[in-house]
Amino acid sequence: MAKLDDIIHQPIRLRIMAALNVLPGNEPIEFTRLKAIVGATDGNLGAHLTTLENAAYVAITKDFVGKKPRTRVAMTRGGRRAFAQHVAQLRDILDGADT
């Protein structure tokens, strides 16, 4: 039986990955929108994104729109695969409890 992914299972990171998972392909989402969805502070979200980026689960791009800085986050292919495996593991745990 495969182990749960410690990086993904942390509650805020789990929500980050879930929010990114419904975006098609490698479509990015802006940091501010992700913050609203996940319900985290700037610093908290930034720290968890760094953890996910170090695991190569998300890709972060920074640019400017006019003079305003913009940070966007997208799920990588590896991140999508890891998240799918994590969800499957969670379902297995539930199924094991039901049988």
Binding site: A18, N21, L90, R91, I93
Partner: protein, 180 residues
């Protein structure tokens, strides 16, 4: 890492609710420019129709073609190819439905046409909202209420009402969705 079935259920529930919220906000973000586009087009279309009622058919032919073309371009730039075709198919359905309705029940007054089409659009928003997010329902109900209010209470100024209030409501709804 040891996780109990109860913790697994909680995690799956958190995933489902977050995915749902993310998908809804993505829908809103995608729909916002379309509402703003049609808010502007309504303002122009109804405004010109008020000034040149005899040219209503030509005005609205240009407005509808311009709106569908601009909307398709927005879809092409922001969504996938399959979504663009669905978008075009929805518009084709609405145009054919309205044309068929007018063939079956010919309007006796231009204002009936001017009210019927926004009501169909409003019904489309409410229907979309039942599936994809409550803000569409609010936008659809607002457009329907403003259309019916103008039609029955402000008959002399109905076109002007739709240009300013109807178009303005769509613009505001688009802005509201973009800020969600």
């Amino acid at each position: 890492m040891q996780v109990s079935p109860q913790e697994a259920a909680q995690a799956l529930q958190a995933i489902a609710s977050t995915e749902n919220r993310s998908a809804t906000l993505r829908h809103y973000r995608g729909a916002a420019p379309h509402l703003m586009l049609w808010g502007l087009l309504w303002a122009v279309g109804y405004g010109l129709t008020e000034v040149m009622p005899a040219r209503a058919n030509a005005i609205w032919a240009v407005i509808v073609v311009a709106g569908i073309a601009a909307g398709t371009l927005i879809m092409f730039r922001t969504a996938g190819r399959s979504d663009t075709w669905r978008f075009a198919a929805v518009w084709a359905t609405l145009v054919v439905f309205c044309a068929a309705s007018f063939a079956v029940m010919p309007p006796s007054d231009g204002r009936q046409v001017a009210a019927f089409i926004p009501l169909v659009i409003a019904a489309t928003y409410v229907t979309a909202g039942i599936w994809f997010g409550s803000r569409y329902v609010v936008a659809g109900l607002a457009v329907a209420a403003l259309t019916l209010g103008g039609f029955f209470l402000l008959r002399e100024y109905f076109l002007l009402w739709m240009a300013v209030v109807g178009g303005g409501a769509l613009l505001l709804a688009g802005f509201w969705l973009s800020r969600a």
